[in-house]
Symmetry: C2
Subunit: 121 residues, 2 copies
């Protein structure tokens, strides 16, 4: 059993929109992602997804309501089936909580799609 230091974990990789699993529990994973720019519109049919901002600002665009803007220390749960698009005007570090097998682009096959499960070293 070892602890994870979020700052060290975020410093251990540099790829954007390429989540790394930092911990697993109860079939769910804590994933860390560096993000900058616009992601793709997508949804996850069978997984709710938590976004928690560690640094920077993440905007979650939604079809049915106003954008949700998350600053450091703020989180939101996007329920399964809800189409959303994460956007970071400047580089941000975010923590995701969702099933380990959830693919980042959900129902969409896009340039940013990552199917491999990568772990923090």
């Amino acid at each position: 059993m070892e602890k994870v230091n979020l700052d060290e974990a975020f410093a251990s990789f540099s790829e954007q929109w390429d989540p790394r699993i930092a911990g697993e529990l109860n079939g769910q994973a804590v994933k860390l992602a560096k993000v900058e720019g616009e992601f793709v519109w997508h949804s996850h049919d069978d997984a709710d997804e938590l976004f928690l901002v560690r640094s920077g600002t993440l905007r979650i665009e939604l079809r049915e309501q106003s954008d949700i803007v998350l600053d450091e220390g703020e989180f939101v749960v996007v329920p399964r089936g809800v189409e959303h698009r994460p956007v970071a005007d400047q580089q941000a570090d975010i923590l995701l909580f969702e099933p380990a097998e959830t693919t980042n682009t959900g129902d969409v096959d896009a340039e940013q799609t990552q199917t491999e499960q990568k772990y923090i070293d």
Copy 2:
């Protein structure tokens, strides 16, 4: 769908060792707890438990290995069945991730046992 600001959520209650549910997803809950002092030794037979420190320092005492000391921005997953005792020498704010129905003292019935599921207002 509404965001949660961790600082505002922690400021909304004052009871120690009395977790509040701040979000739910995939059968799991994000719980916020204020802690100070020694908790009871306990384990959870059927739930892994994540501890993430938001402010202060949390020490997780374990029977089988050295204590794990978590400062701000550090987390650990205590696997199901592993006996542990959280201790905070000074007041700390922590985020827990575990099934919503997990009781704080697990297999132990103690003074601090909270069976009611309380939510952030």
